[in-house]
Amino acid sequence: MMEAVAIPPFERFYLEHRVEVLRLLRRRLGADRAEDAFQETFLRALRAYPRLEHGEHLRAWVLTIAQNVAVDALRRTRPQAELVETGVEDGRPAYAELADLTDGLSPKERAAVVLRYGYDLPYDQIAEALGSSQDAARQAASTGVRRLRRRTTR
């Protein structure tokens, strides 16, 4: 009987595929937007990782996730009318929901807004994620939200 291929520790999987995933996302989305998409890809992979049943085809698996993340990102930039036609998506992560709205913000503001209002994280954790102080995280989130309001009321 064949032994199932063992699931590698995530670090090994990540180191093996991160360059190829980033290349793919840069081709699809351009260098700037590829960075958010890269994080989203590997965060999705991390969420699903404990449910993997074997370690086969992991390259195809992560490239599929990256493709999906890229499609989501591209769809967000299309006009509203087309968005409606594509139908409702189930289980869309909060990150993606908010990303529609937060496109015009700086990366730090966007991350702060998404972590605060998408993931409901307290400011101390957001500060950790951003590598900044709590005050700076709070500031980034509130500036971000203010800018969003200005945009939506315009």
């Binding site: 590698p8 520790p9 995530f10 991160r18 360059v19 960075e35 991390l46 404990p50 993931y119 950790e128």
Partner: protein, 185 residues
């Protein structure tokens, strides 16, 4: 292509913040060399005298799960306490420990070992008596030889019946240095 360091560290930070890491690890610099330290959400899980993570990732996964990820922040607390210990400021570690994947006898011995205080020593036989297995000194020795969390679990404070240093996974020199630091030798 060299991978962008800021993107890498921002992914690792986000993964940890979102609670998606089963066990995080990083290298910690100490006066006795680089240590590889691993911690889960339950606590400190492993310390290795060989800082190369490559052949230890599977071991970490067996302790806590497959989401093994390098992350400086995952071992921050252990790093701070180890810094304090080596600076002579800290005499008792206050770290939760992750004993998963260890046999019950090993856990019993390690818990007893944790009670051997800074600056004191004991023997394999004495430790065996304390866990209620007075004839199991050799088995106790084996457990200590495979101690997954050395330094914090002070197997360096356990010496032979005649007071000799006997063995240490990190080498006898290191055992001597730790006991010197603690003022025993």
């Amino acid at each position: 292509m060299t991978f962008p360091a800021d993107l890498d560290s921002s992914f690792r930070g986000a993964a940890l913040t979102l609670g998606l890491v089963d066990i995080g690890f990083d290298v910690v610099e100490t006066p006795v060399g680089e240590l590889l330290v691993a911690a889960s959400d339950r606590g400190l899980a492993a310390i290795s005298f060989d800082p190369d993570p490559d052949d230890k990732l599977e071991r970490f996964a067996r302790i806590a799960g497959p989401r093994v990820l390098r992350s400086a922040r995952a071992v921050d607390r252990a790093r701070r306490e180890l810094d304090g210990y080596f600076a002579g400021r800290l005499r008792r570690f206050d770290l939760a420990l992750d004993f998963r994947a260890l046999p019950p006898f090993t856990v019993t011995v390690l818990r007893e070992l944790a009670r051997v205080r800074y600056g004191e020593t004991t023997t394999y036989g004495e430790l065996a008596r304390r866990v209620g297995r007075p004839r199991a000194a050799r088995a106790v020795g084996t457990v200590l030889h495979h101690n997954r969390i050395p330094i914090v679990l002070p197997c360096h404070r356990v010496v032979g019946a005649t007071g000799g240093l006997v063995g240490y996974a990190g080498g006898l020199d290191l055992k001597r240095r730790l006991l010197e630091l603690e003022g025993v030798l």
